[in-house]
Symmetry: C2
Subunit: 310 residues, 2 copies
């Protein structure tokens, strides 16, 4: 028997807390439909400027759940099949003082919003379009420590992993830390690059359908399987322009690579510095090219050239 549930979309929470009452109790094998609010729902509106938005990090993430899975115990593994992901009608991307990879380069906040109604790509500026590759920035089992824990950063049971590879067709495995697993999700993203360098993705609401299985084995950390075929094949269709940050520290290498990419986007492609940083966050990928060469590492920021459509 296949059991499907629709979780009450009004039962949202803003923090991990093992004492929260479950919003839904399911059996292993069950499927759950979620109607997820965007991060910052009610704090930012379509077309708003940064002056018109007010971000409250205490309530910015609207997590749906907890979903209690019957029989789940600490040491088990929760398997989540990502069956369907449908972004909402619009989205936003922000960067804020003291947050993001290049916080020292971008002291002032900046906000842009996106029209997602086209269904496949969203326009940053004329000639620059970001293809959708929707996923949930946050999927997690509740932390074991009692009390209230903010939904970021990620933890051993998952959470705010911001893993863009968890697209439709993927399978995610998460360590169970509490009886019932107490799974929650939210923070939907229409698109994001590896790194999420400016601190946000294309944040949006999302219809999501997930199927849950329980595995009576332990894993040390979250793991996943992506669907057959290259991720973002349409994004890759025109190849990549990529920069390298060669440095004795991976973080410094990442910063150098993103700085070089921003310079190229500004000088070569005519973007504003702010939009260049946003584009790196929503469409560019940070790769560790090598981490073994005599104390000097190589980190790349790769931008799919398919974003340039003019």
């Amino acid at each position: 028997m296949v059991r499907e549930h629709t979780i009450d979309s009004g039962l949202i929470h803003h923090a991990w807390d093992r004492d929260l009452a479950p919003a839904l109790v399911i059996e292993p094998g069950d499927t759950v439909h979620f109607d997820l609010f965007m991060a910052g729902d009610g704090q930012v509106s379509e077309g708003a400027t940064i002056e018109q938005a007010a971000f409250d990090f205490e309530t910015i993430y609207n997590l749906s759940g907890p979903v209690a899975v019957e029989g789940a115990e600490p040491g088990d593994t929760l398997e989540i099949e990502i069956l369907s992901l449908r972004p909402g009608e619009w989205g936003w991307t922000v960067f804020l003082p003291e947050l993001g990879l290049l916080a020292e380069d971008f002291p002032d906040a900046y906000l842009t919003t996106w029209d997602l109604r086209g269904g496949e790509r969203a326009t940053l500026v004329p000639g620059v379009e970001v293809p959708f590759a929707p996923f949930l920035g946050t999927m997690g089992n509740c932390v074991e420590e009692p009390g209230r824990h903010l939904p970021f950063p990620p933890h051993r049971g998952g959470g705010n992993m911001d893993n863009r590879h968890l697209v439709e067709g993927s399978t995610l495995w998460l360590p169970v830390l509490c009886d019932g697993a107490l799974f929650s999700c939210g923070d939907p993203h229409a698109a994001q690059g590896d790194g999420e360098v400016c601190v946000s993705a294309i944040e949006c609401g999302m219809q999501a359908t997930l199927r849950f299985h329980l595995r009576k084995r332990s894993i040390p950390a979250p793991a996943f399987r992506s669907p057959p075929g290259p991720l973002g094949a349409s994004a890759a269709s025109a190849g990549y322009y990529a920069t390298m940050g060669i440095a004795p520290d991976l973080m410094e290498g990442a910063k150098a690579a993103v700085r070089s990419m921003i310079a190229w986007l500004v000088e070569g492609q005519g973007l504003s510095r702010e939009d260049a940083y946003v584009l790196c966050s929503v469409a560019g990928d940070l790769k560790i090219l090598e981490v073994v060469d005599a104390g000097v590492w190589n980190v790349s920021m790769a931008m799919p050239l398919a974003v340039f459509v003019s």
Copy 2:
């Protein structure tokens, strides 16, 4: 007029040195054919065990060059079109004490060799095959400081970048640091993952054809453009299994992700620990999933499932 050259393959050197006599002088626009020795040529033989090999890091890289480009000056950019790359007949992968991402986990040296004569894939063990994606681990302009400099680590003018994305059809841009650029290349790899985590790739000889252009503009660091279409589409055809390392330090996250992958390869796929580490190095990719979540980062090791052919 298109000018093509074949560089004397016997004119090899083992270090960067701006006072080396050029092996070849070319004009911008010229094409050069290289017949490149494998790294460690003469130090390791096909089918050898680690006891039968003797690695000398002073001479392990057999760089072909320097190629002097007429008119190149410090501040210019050398553009290199990677026209053709053909691996030799066999290759090797090693890890050695105190080198590699997981040096503390693997104190003992290990060597495996690969038969590359099939032309498309090489077998690690029965049922595990690595698709070729050839590139040159080292392409660089000579360092500006006089004297002899070992060919690793990479430097501002390129060098031992170990960038697996520089496959046939790619274009590489390198800062010129000396008059004439003094480009050299070597360290050919039949395949490597992002990270090269065990410290070596599938090291092999290679026939390489490169075309050089001179750009009278400056770039801060090496950059490149990959050819249209997803890199390693055949490797991606079956999707990826991937682990995550969630940690407050990118290096620690990378180590955790590779350790989880090795555990999965050993327990789930029956590989030896040593072969699992080698497979991570030659076929697995390190990605920075996020570097912005409240001080805790997420690094992934992704293994293409197409390597499992049985």
